[in-house]
């Protein structure tokens, strides 16, 4: 790398691979430490299986895991979708009225702090053992960052722009549609980056409680099942799969931000997007 006076002159692919190497190194180091901890201290498999045993269990259960990824991914995607829809709607309402914002915002914070584990059984009584309840849990957990970020996006406007709109006699809707919303997209993306991981967690927690009947086998259901059967290796493999799902969601949000929403988000300078 002696000839690089400006790193940005490298091609995107090289850049991309360069960005990939440090986290991969960390991952390899992590696996190595894990492996040696298990072998040096001869930890029982029930307490902590080695990475190889986990990989093996993951491979043996690959069909179940893939089905689980699909089922949980679907629930989490639905949860994220509704979070974005509901969250944006709420944020718009909040941005339009100080009075509404003052009276409702505390309850949105309540959503953030609600002990989902405690109310999940109640949600089931109200909504039943079905996908809807799982999505509901995912929404409750993931809606807050959307509301919070989009609201601040809609509110924190450049004073000069606002003056310009007012001088030209722009109405409330015009200001919202042409000034506030475009400015809030960047904040939406930031909110979604937080919310997407939470949606996955929400879906899995939802599955812990809602279960599978005989037709639905999400990652959360698999985890409870393997825990009962004392299969710690398979359990950790499922945790790994859910992490992958979270990463996939995160990548999806980034992709969305770099393509469809590019027009409004290109001013965000994230390291990951180069």
């Amino acid at each position: 790398m002696s000839n690089t006076t400006t790193p940005r002159s490298t091609t995107p692919l090289v850049n991309w691979i360069g960005n990939l190497i440090p986290p991969l190194l960390v991952f390899v180091l992590f696996l190595a430490v894990w492996h040696f901890v298990v072998s040096i201290f001869q930890l029982p498999k029930a307490v902590l299986p080695s990475p190889l045993q986990v990989a093996n269990a993951g491979w043996e259960n690959r069909e179940l895991l893939i089905k689980g990824l699909w089922a949980t991914g679907k629930a989490a995607a639905l949860g994220l979708f509704f979070s974005v829809a509901i969250g944006m709607l709420l944020a718009i309402v909040f941005s339009q009225s100080r009075w509404l914002r003052l009276s409702l915002y505390p309850y949105i914070i309540f959503l953030q702090t609600v002990p989902i584990v405690a109310i999940a059984p109640l949600l089931i009584i109200w909504s039943g053992n079905n996908l809807r309840t799982i999505v509901l849990v995912a929404v409750i957990i993931s809606v807050f960052p959307i509301v919070a970020n989009v609201t601040s996006g809609l509110m924190s406007l450049d004073r000069n722009w606002l003056d310009l709109f007012q001088l030209n006699g722009a109405g409330r809707w015009q200001t919202l549609w042409k000034l506030q919303l475009p400015a809030a997209i960047r904040f939406l993306v930031i909110g979604m980056r937080i919310a997407c991981g939470l949606a996955v967690i929400g879906a899995i927690v939802g599955e812990f409680f809602v279960g599978n009947g005989t037709a639905y086998d999400g990652l959360g259901t698999l985890m409870t099942q393997w825990q009962v059967r004392q299969k710690t290796d398979a359990l950790i493999a499922a945790v790994g799969a859910s992490t992958l799902l979270g990463v996939a969601f995160f990548a999806g949000v980034n992709l969305l931000s770099n393509t469809l929403l590019r027009r409004w988000t290109r001013t965000i300078d994230f390291e990951s997007t180069g």
């Binding site: 430490v33 040696f36 901890v37 040096i40 201290f41 930890l43 029982p44 498999k45 029930a46 307490v47 059984p121 089931i124 009584i125 053992n129 812990f208 409680f209 809602v210 279960g211 599978n212 009947g213 005989t214 037709a215 259901t221 409870t224 099942q225 393997w226 825990q227 009962v228 059967r229 004392q230 299969k231 710690t232 290796d233």
Partner: protein, 340 residues
């Protein structure tokens, strides 16, 4: 360049040092504490051991508590700390790590554990009849497991008994199996819900809520693993034969005591259980326990007894359900009776 490398390696050493500390912290916690039990500075020389229960203290742990309350552990030279379990109690890991010396679990847990390289071994079985049942409301009209249809069943989905029911073709698609949270609320709410239960516990709680129930026993269908067995690990028992033998003796006497007169013990259990247990439920449970521990004229002296037939029947059932792999474990590895 070389300085850079040097600096880098310095940092690496720091990181490795921290990792080592972490590893030590984990490792030290993991070391078996068998040595501790051998120390004898206490004057009346009692061996300290820990017994971890698999659930909140209830009537099914009665004998283990009776031995404590009535000084039977002490009589056998043991200083036993009985640790209540709960929703998250991890009896297997605690045992294999040696943080506790004895635990309580069901016979099928032992084979599940051994199948995953946890060398668990049963030492005595207080409950001859497994109390596991499916509880339905009387007004659901269901009187046998074969009639379970169009109903929601709350149960621990991964448990072998559910797999057993499924293998018997009893849980049709119209039975929706959902997780169980340890509350009879949903069953009380409507006749569309059935739930897993212990025949001496939840049915009583449902009755207290004003709901008449029917217990459909799994044992009657042929799935009858010993319940609430006293267990330990191969290693501990091999290294502590004498303590194990005395522990088994004390537990058997504790159970005999509990079946004879549970009053004092139940008082103690009630104090230990902060999960909404009632005196009435415990009294009911203690009476029901008699039939489960000493069924059909089994003499009191046989309490705790285990037979090779029962264990191999269970083993075969679990092999058939593909829950365990006969290439990995053998039926006789799961129990020691009597401890010699």
């Amino acid at each position: 360049m070389s300085r850079n490398v040097f600096r880098f390696s310095n940092r690496l050493i720091a990181i490795l040092g921290m990792l080592t500390l972490l590893v030590l912290a984990v490792g030290c916690g993991a070391k078996p504490k068998a040595a501790e039990t051998q120390t004898n500075n206490a004057k009346p020389k009692r061996d300290k051991v820990k017994l971890l229960l698999n659930w909140y203290p209830e009537a099914e742990h009665g004998g283990f508590y009776a031995a404590l309350v009535h000084g039977l552990y002490e009589k056998h030279g043991l200083d036993v700390e009985v640790l209540p379990g709960g929703r998250t109690s991890a009896v297997t890991p605690e045992l294999v790590l040696g943080r506790v010396q004895f635990g309580v679990g069901n016979a099928d847990d032992i084979y599940l554990g051994r199948n995953e390289e946890s060398p668990l071994v049963a030492l005595m079985a207080p409950l001859q009849i497994n109390p596991r049942c499916i509880m339905v409301r009387k007004d659901s009209g269901i009187t046998s497991l074969a009639e379970l249809k169009n109903i929601k069943l709350e149960a621990d989905v991964g448990r072998p008994d559910i797999a057993f029911l499924q293998s018997k073709g009893l849980l049709h698609d119209s039975v929706q199996v959902v997780p169980y949270f340890g509350s009879v609320a949903q069953l009380v709410a409507g006749p569309g819900t059935a739930q897993q239960a212990y025949s001496f516990s939840e049915p009583f709680l449902a009755k207290q809520e004003g709901v008449e129930v029917t217990n459909l026993m799994l044992a009657e269908l042929g799935y009858n693993p010993y319940a609430c067995v006293l267990m330990s690990t191969d290693k501990y028992v091999a290294e502590n034969k004498d303590i194990s033998r005395r522990m088994v003796a004390a537990c058997i006497e504790g159970w005999q005591q509990y079946l004879r007169d549970p009053a004092k013990t139940n008082e103690y259990i009630l104090k230990q259980n902060q999960q909404g247990m009632t005196k009435e439920a415990l009294d009911f449970g203690a009476v029901a326990m008699k039939e489960l521990c000493l069924p059909a004229g089994m003499p009191e002296s046989d309490l705790g007894k285990m037979t090779a037939e029962r264990w191999s029947t269970l083993f075969q059932q679990m092999v058939d359900l593909k829950l365990i792999d006969p290439a990995k474990i053998k039926p006789e590895q799961g129990y020691l009776w009597p401890v010699k």
